[in-house]
Amino acid sequence: MTAVTDVELASISVSKVTDAVYLDQAVEEVFGLMLGVPVELVDEEFLTDDAAETMTAMIGLAGAISGTCAMLVKAEAGVHMAGCMAGIELNGVDETVLDGLGEITNMLAGAWKAKIPELNVACMLSVPTVVTGTQYVVHRKAPAFLVERSYRLGEHFFTVRVYGVIH
């Protein structure tokens, strides 16, 4: 494997990884190309209703940065996303939906890091993890960087977060 030089690592800055343009572009590409649906950036923060089932799909980032790329959706939005990707109508949360959300998040993480050349070589992705439930909180250490954006997909909303530390 090609070694990443100190110069390359040193050039990864917080301002670069927190530039939301990269995340917006990654989201637009993944949803446009793989789901065939447009998404729209929204200002509102994604909020969970107390009783709403929520899904959080996560990809671990390792190497030049340690962190997580996470997508948060309500269950009905997740079902809609997975249905768009599969090209079929899905009726509830099942293995297909969990698989689809994991893959969408995997592609988001991959597309995001590919836009930052220094990360594309030096950052590796884990296999996906998807958490489902109601009224849960994802705890994390105070990250050195955080980029968070919310989007509208038809009548649904979702949030994507990338956070962690730079080594």
């Binding site: 297909t96 689809g100 994991g102 893959e103 995997n106 592609m107 590919a114 594309n120 070589v121 992705l125």
Partner: protein, 129 residues
């Protein structure tokens, strides 16, 4: 055309198959494997039964045995060496591409992808295979 699609995600296997069909490929048989271990077993079986694949698509990031190790072992064992292998992955970094090509991959597609990209990658491989 008989195709082997290797990916730990059933969703992605479905998406790849759909992209191949939309690209105009005449798929007569689609065999699926969850990881490199299963894929190697299928190549050994196809070799013994003389039922060769025409094309292999493989993800890289998979449990048990990843896609790079799969095509390296395929090369070591001399399995389906004449069959074009296309890697299809989110890991589009240069070292991964170089390692895949060194192990015998003939194409490399990064997710997310378009049907046109799949067609542009696969068509020349089938014409010369």
């Amino acid at each position: 055309m008989k195709v082997l699609i290797v990916d730990d995600s059933a969703m992605m296997r479905k998406v790849v198959e759909r992209a191949l069909r939309q690209a105009g490929m005449n798929l007569t048989e689609v065999i699926q494997a969850n990881n490199g271990v299963e894929a190697l077993a299928m190549l050994r079986e196809s070799a013994s039964s003389n039922a060769a694949f025409d094309l292999i698509f493989s993800d890289i990031n998979m449990p048990m045995m990843d896609g790079l190790e799969f095509i390296e072992k395929r090369k070591q064992e001399g399995l389906a060496l004449g069959v074009p292998v296309v890697m299809i992955t989110t890991e589009g970094s240069t070292p991964n591409v170089m390692r895949a090509l060194a192990a015998g991959a003939r194409g490399y597609i990064c997710k997310p992808f378009t049907t046109d990209q799949v067609k542009a990658c696969v068509t020349p491989l089938l014409n010369v295979a």
